[in-house]
């Protein structure tokens, strides 16, 4: 009822003004009333008044009208940020209209309000991002980006690009993420994750050289960042650059010598090199053995370390029999010495494989290896036990 009365009063004031031939005066009255309502925090009344003003022939051509509309709806947004009514959108439309007019009296004021509103979009995007609503974050960052990229002053532009990139990356929109990230880099915005993620995108898009370049740039800028170092090692492995991966993983272990996971990666790398470079087989066998032993010194029950060391020793013995001794021309004495080595390797492998067997009784490969070992060593009871366990897996 109160609202209805106000509306009538405003309309009446207009009518009087027009009938009295005092059109200019009516405009001022109405718009002054809007200002007054705003100052008194009477937002709904201000809204009603300004909505009327934007419809009225006398006031709709006035720049101040549109500025006030923009401002009013901005205030409405502030008061009701979660409202389904899109106050910001209405405000921005009004402010754009204000700026498009010939009169430039309020152009600067419009810019300020628009800047304020777009900053709220930026903040909303950040909040969405932190709440893991990545699509919402991406859409809202884009709203901010579309606005700020046309401005001379661009606060938070690079950040918006970075986080839009990040959101795109998480949403697996790689090409989009790439464009945002590259944009952020052009703006000299640097973050370890930017280098990391962009490198990954390049790698997935088949641009291996760029991928490596990007991660190395990140490493140069953040030499102490362990995640980047790990990513570099992973990338070198993916690109089969094993000798470089070897250098990097050993450099990592110098700064973090108790990191079991890295030790296991080192073992993987040494294994790849050994497979490629058979002339250095013995060297890399020893390196792998030492690194798995170190890992087990840190974590005696680590299943991967136990398995890898057990199988390494087992494989070495089998290789000796299959490869070196494949040469049937080997001197009998030398062959006898070789068998001594094989026996020792098989026996050395047993405790590690036994541990894996305890932790994972269904691991068929472990059981097969133990079966061969016990058969070689002629340990009949142990052999029978392993075979029984293998049979039970087949049932």
């Amino acid at each position: 009822m109160v609202r209805y009365i106000f509306t009538i009063k405003i309309a009446f004031a207009f009518l009087l003004g027009i009938l009295g031939g005092q059109q200019a005066g009516a405009q001022v009255i109405l718009l002054d009333r809007v200002t007054e309502y705003l100052q008194n925090d009477q937002l709904q009344q201000a809204r009603d008044a300004i909505d009327l003003a934007t419809e009225n022939e006398a006031t709709k051509g006035d720049q101040r009208t549109w500025y006030l509309k923009g401002f009013t709806y901005k205030e409405l947004y502030n008061a009701h940020p979660d409202s389904s009514a899109d106050f910001r959108d209405t405000a921005l439309q009004a402010l754009e209209k204000c700026q498009a007019m010939d009169d430039t009296t309020f152009t600067g004021d419009c810019s300020q309000v628009m800047s304020y509103i777009y900053t709220t979009y930026f903040n909303d995007a950040v909040e969405a991002f932190n709440s893991q609503r990545y699509q919402g974050a991406l859409d809202t960052f884009q709203i901010y980006i579309d606005y700020i990229e046309t401005k001379e002053e661009q606060p938070n532009y690079a950040e918006a690009l970075y986080y839009a990139g990040f959101a795109s990356y998480i949403l697996e929109k790689d090409q989009q993420a790439r464009e945002y990230y590259e944009g952020a880099l052009e703006k000299e915005f640097y973050k370890p994750l930017l280098y990391d993620n962009l490198s990954t995108i390049y790698q997935e898009q088949g641009e291996e050289t760029l991928a490596l370049e990007m991660i190395r740039k990140g490493r140069d800028r953040y030499p102490e960042n362990n995640n980047l170092h790990i990513s570099l090692i992973n990338l070198l492995l993916a690109q089969e650059k094993y000798f470089e991966a070897e250098k990097e993983v050993e450099s990592y272990l110098e700064k973090d010598p108790q990191n079991v996971e890295v030790m296991l990666v080192a073992g993987t790398i040494y294994g790849q090199i050994a497979a490629m470079d058979t002339t250095n087989n013995q060297k890399y066998f020893q390196k792998r053995k030492r690194i798995y032993e170190k890992a087990l010194a840190e974590q005696p029950d680590n299943p991967t370390a136990n398995y890898n060391l057990g199988i390494l020793l087992y494989n070495k013995s089998v290789d000796l029999i299959n490869n070196d001794a494949e040469n049937y021309e080997m001197d009998l004495g030398a062959f006898n010495q070789l068998l001594n080595r094989c026996t020792n390797l098989f026996k050395e492998a047993i405790p590690y494989l036994t541990k894996v067997r305890e932790m994972d009784p269904a691991n068929r490969k472990t059981l097969k290896a133990l079966e061969n070992i016990y058969h070689y060593l002629n340990r009949k009871q142990e052999l029978a036990n392993v075979r029984q366990q293998l049979d039970s897996l087949d049932k």
Binding site: Y307, N308, K365, N378
Partner: protein, 178 residues
């Protein structure tokens, strides 16, 4: 307006730890059998057969299921004995054993046939090879055994003498002389 930005920490994950690959050659229990096949070939180098038995294919006979047939055949494909092709022959019974059989490998499951084999081949320069505890003393010329967890072999020297087979000193050094 104050802008809040939270820092998000992500931990890099190693995607590339791999398990050592098991060196599996089809079946599994082959290492010991591989060793036997290498020993068998060495026997051809360190044992001398009489002149009467030095022509034609070099025959390795197998009596029963030894489990090492594949390894012996693989060896026979790659090697020869002084230019003689190695022929691997399966014998289903003692009666099938040929006079010109140079080496006869008797399976554990057929070890009860050892005395019959010894009788049937008494006048032949056939190297009888077994793979069961005690058979060396029972009469086989070479018996595969395990000593200190290592596959090795026993040598019955008197059995060698009875069959006109000469063995080199190296075999006596490496094997266990009964």
């Amino acid at each position: 307006m104050k802008i809040k930005i939270y820092i998000i920490f992500l931990t890099a994950i190693f995607g590339m730890i791999s398990a050592e690959q098991l060196n599996a050659q089809g079946g599994v229990v082959e290492s010991r059998h591989k060793v036997y096949s290498i020993y068998l070939y060495n026997f051809t180098k360190y044992i001398q057969w009489p002149d009467s038995n030095k022509s034609g294919d070099f025959i390795i006979g197998i009596l029963g299921d030894t489990g090492m047939e594949n390894e012996i055949k693989a060896m026979a494909k790659k090697k020869n004995v002084n230019g003689r092709k190695i022929n691997v022959t399966n014998y289903a019974s003692v009666d099938e054993i040929k006079e010109n059989c140079n080496i006869l490998v008797i399976a554990n499951s057929s070890s009860n046939l050892l005395s019959d084999v010894l009788k049937a081949t008494a006048n032949q320069p056939t190297l009888i090879v077994t793979n069961k505890d005690g058979l060396g003393r029972y009469g086989s010329l070479i018996n595969f055994v395990t000593q200190n967890d290592k596959p090795t072999f026993e040598l019955n020297l008197s059995a060698f003498e009875k069959r006109d087979l000469n063995l080199a000193q190296q075999l006596k050094t490496i094997g266990i002389v009964l």
